[in-house]
Symmetry: C2
Subunit: 589 residues, 2 copies
């Protein structure tokens, strides 16, 4: 099927949007009238540019407030429509979107006759009219009403435009779409949206998302459209305050990825097998000054496994937790890469190609493991690693047998990545479509510089947990740090080991422990132990959670945690304590 987007989904000027769509790989675009009106290029230039870029101009949009009006108003509306039909010929566009009247309709009885007159005028100009029930239309606000009107008018040049937002936001059952003859569906617009209890107009104009990023069942919607026999373009029409601000080239690539993923999810195109991540293979910290990071790892009980034979990198392990410390230049220590154990790494690589995610270039010496990697929207490198108890690349570091395992850290429990606020939708789609991670809850935590949104993404079995944190918009870049959380079966032992090396965990205020005592009625001895070691605590119906944080090095810190019983959360109630302490630490420099 032809893939398209409305120009209103992107920022910038019309020519820039067209280039971005062509580069991303779209087949065509909907031309949103205001984008043309403000453009200095003539309609003929736009048409010629579209030809050169191989972009079809699929739709001109929108005509508004035409039908159901007094005769004198309708005459003026026809004049207005005729001017646009003439313009469309110059552009080489044969379909126009007509929104159901929201403002000037006074007489629904006049609608069939006026739509017929408009349709015949369109036919005279070679224009097809795609009539769309807006969710807030004055009389027509349901696609089934629009379809009845189209049937009643019964003109070949009048058909439907179906927009998933207008249908699903109102909770209308899309099943009846399947019974509409495909050739009477002139156009299909796709948009997702978060579930919000907001008036539908504001919701539609500001908060739409690309398919798969919100709460609507787009695959189900698309299945009905396909069942109807529709063969026209699938076009994204996403009014979103953030995408209006982001780089159009990047947003276009993100948009196309959402459509590709949707087609697969809906079964409209073949989906390669899921890569099924089962664990973090490793985390890589880039630090020009490894002496700021490596002592922390050592004091947490990690073993030094050796230097890489060709890269300026060293490996530290504890249980299945592996941390690579890479001395490659970087402005300050940061979490640079994550490896994922995948049951089918080649499938993941194929999936990246399908999703137009380029592979990173990596130099690999003879005899080294040629791992493939891609770059996530936040710049973190994602390594697609074949699952293996002892990955072959470990030998590239090892200079001898590892010391016997005695350490208490057993695995990487989760990794928190900081996302710029404008990229969270793109990042969510990236990790979902590439790795099959799904959103599994979200929270907002209060820090001293604002609220931080935190979204968990996991595989179905919660073996890989990625937490995406969004900093407040006014926060200076880098105000939030990333972190790797290590799991252990004895967090007290790890904390004591750290303490024995003279290293303090992130300080926790006394007030916290008093509040903890009030909330949980903990055994006083246990509470004293927590206080002495800077341990924090949480509990729910399933179990307990005990954890501490290290100081921040550059923009990265570590957490060590112990899950007791079935506790499956992240101690979100303690996050404000951490944020406040880190803010004090940062002020002290």
């Amino acid at each position: 099927m032809r893939l398209s987007t409305a120009t209103v989904s992107l920022s910038g000027d019309l020519v820039g949007k067209m280039h971005a769509c062509a580069r991303a790989g779209f087949d065509g675009i909907e031309l949103f009238e205001p984008d043309l009106v403000v453009a200095p290029e003539s309609p003929e230039e736009i048409r010629a540019l579209a030809d050169r870029l191989g972009l079809r101009l699929e739709l001109y949009q929108p005509l508004r407030d035409i039908e159901g009006v007094p005769p004198a108003v309708f005459d003026d509306n026809l004049r207005r429509a005729a001017a646009k039909f003439t313009l469309m010929r110059r552009l080489g566009i044969d379909t126009v979107l007509l929104c159901s009247n929201v403002a000037t309709a006074v007489d629904p009885g006049a609608m069939p006759g006026q739509l017929r007159t408009l349709a015949r005028l369109g036919a005279d100009h070679g224009v097809r009219i795609a009539y769309e029930a807006l969710a807030w239309g004055r009389y027509v606000d349901d696609y089934r009403q629009a379809w009845r009107l189209v049937q009643e008018v019964d003109e070949p040049s009048l058909g439907l435009c179906l927009d998933s937002f207008h249908i699903l936001s109102r909770g209308h059952d899309p099943a009846a779409i399947g019974d509409i003859p495909g050739e009477k569906i002139f156009f299909v617009q796709l948009a997702d949206a978060p579930v919000l209890s907001l008036d539908v107009l504001s919701w539609s104009r500001h908060h739409r998302l690309f398919p798969g990023e919100g709460g609507f069942d787009l695959p189900g919607f698309l299945a009905h459209v396909l069942r109807a026999g529709y063969t026209g373009p699938l076009s994204l029409e996403v009014f979103n305050d953030v995408f209006r601000q982001t780089d159009p080239g990047r947003t276009a690539a993100h948009a196309l990825r959402s459509l590709i993923d949707l087609l697969e999810t809906a079964g409209a195109s073949a989906r390669p097998p899921a890569p099924a991540p089962g664990a973090f293979t490793f985390a890589e910290i880039r630090a020009r000054t490894p002496e700021t990071v490596e002592p922390l790892l050592a004091h947490l009980g990690f073993h030094y496994r050796g230097a890489h034979r060709s890269r300026p990198a060293r490996l530290w392990t504890s249980g299945s937790a592996r941390v690579v410390v890479n001395e490659a230049p970087s402005p300050r220590p940061h979490l640079a890469a994550l490896g994922f154990d995948l049951t089918d790494a080649p499938a993941a690589l194929a999936r990246a190609r399908t999703l137009h995610i380029p592979s990173d270039f990596r130099r690999v010496h003879e005899g080294e493991d040629a791992l493939h990697a891609v770059t996530a929207p936040d710049g973190t490198q994602i390594f697609l690693c074949p699952v293996s108890t002892v990955p072959p690349w470990i030998a590239e570091f090892d200079h001898g047998a590892p010391r016997p395992e005695s350490s208490a850290v057993t695995a990487i429990d989760h990794v928190n990545l900081v996302q710029p606020w404008e990229d969270i939708a793109e990042a969510t789609l990236f990790h979902r479509s590439l790795l099959g991670l799904e959103v599994d809850g979200s929270a907002q935590v209060a820090g001293p510089s604002g609220l931080i949104s935190s979204q968990v993404m996991t595989d179905p079995e919660h073996r890989v947990r990625l937490v995406l944190n969004v900093a407040p918009a006014a926060a200076r870049p880098g105000a939030l740090a990333q972190h790797v959380a290590f799991r252990t079966d004895d967090v007290v032992a790890v904390a004591e080991r750290l303490r024995a090396h003279g290293v303090e965990a992130l300080p926790v205020p006394g007030n916290y422990y008093e509040d903890l005592a009030a909330r949980f009625a903990l055994d006083p001895a246990r509470l004293d132990r927590f206080r002495a070691l800077g341990l924090m605590y949480d509990r729910d119906g399933q179990g307990e959670f005990i954890h501490f944080y290290t100081a921040t090095v550059g923009s990265v810190f570590f957490e060590v945690l112990q899950r007791i019983g079935g506790y499956d959360g992240y101690g979100a109630a303690n996050a404000p304590v951490r944020l406040a302490a880190q803010s004090r630490e940062a002020r002290r420099g």
Copy 2:
């Protein structure tokens, strides 16, 4: 009355918040528990700091989910409450906020008895309990229910907390407040909010505003509270995602200003006479390179009136429009100051003092007009000018009689100021409380880099029109420009004069004129004239609007406009055309 704010209304850490509140002039604060929990200072330190700063710790908040629960749960809740009562003694706080149960209530019948037990426990600790009906309480969500419970329990240590948000957001009539004995109202929290169709919990947690900045009738609410005989503190509890990010010192000053204004509006304190702005006295552009600005003014028909006798400034006038071009150092040409003609300038100055707005220091030579000025949140200097046909300070510039008036610009019609997105509430309150300007409509216009919110503020007679534009958050600072719009009775003549000097107005695309023809069926000769001169057009039921823009110099440009008939708008439909053209202009450099 004692003025207070909850610590949650501000960003930063507890000690920083307390200093900010004291500096702003608050009498006390509500201590929001999470602010204490994350603080390293002991309760005794906080108490001692409050003493030193002269801040009363008015309230500890909140206790949650105590009442209406099974007996075993209630026992644990009592233990939790007792721990907090003990803590309150250490803090020296005698009143605690108890929110109505939202989560654990199962038995409303148990509420009176459990509240009585809690109240007696409070009395044992010297603690008064202020019970508040949350708008989303499980059983108690209306202050009238809470009041019936308090009456039924009939304990001296149990009273009410009234929060304007919880009452007005639900549309509950606050009139019954006046019938509650004042001494049973233990605490009053004030918050405004924009009118949103959003679920009340999200609305409350993210979008509250300070009084006078939203859509609630806070003066009416406060009148009922005063009628009840309440004499306790008036305290702001404003959960707002933006204020959590802004400088706490500035937000505290802003917050206190809102309370002072509210007390006056509600008649609880004397309000000085309104300064009643009647016109813009002048606009001052600061440009180290006046040759970038002055030719534009000359070509628009402004007269050069001379250089100031002691300042590096020159005056240009046309009709009542006055523009001062000041060569004082500035990174780039920008709109630095606005003068307002005030019927009572001394009253405005007194008002500024009342609102804790400091006067700017100005050096004035003997014999010069000692105008007073203050600085608006966006940095624009606001001059409070006594109204006068020919202000005395003009003589400080004049070096002779002005040339005969022949110019077509008659006045400053409006001024657009760009506001950082985090400052719009503060700016709105500033201009309203100081100058008596009221919000008169708002619009969102699409620019190539995102949506721009535009809010008009005017005096009741629309003689002074200030437009506050908010740039998209991701926009680079300075991406939007300020502008001064000049009114004329013959915009065509002004445009032709500019053209005759070889200066082009901001270019308007041909597509715009084709769309204009389709929308308005304009006379073709008139349309051609518009096109030739780069004029834009709008029309509504009241009249017509014709206007053009100059190129941008630094961060400022001019608009020239003609209002025909009763057109009272700003041509918002044309703003996207301007924004796109300015973006192209900026890219070309």
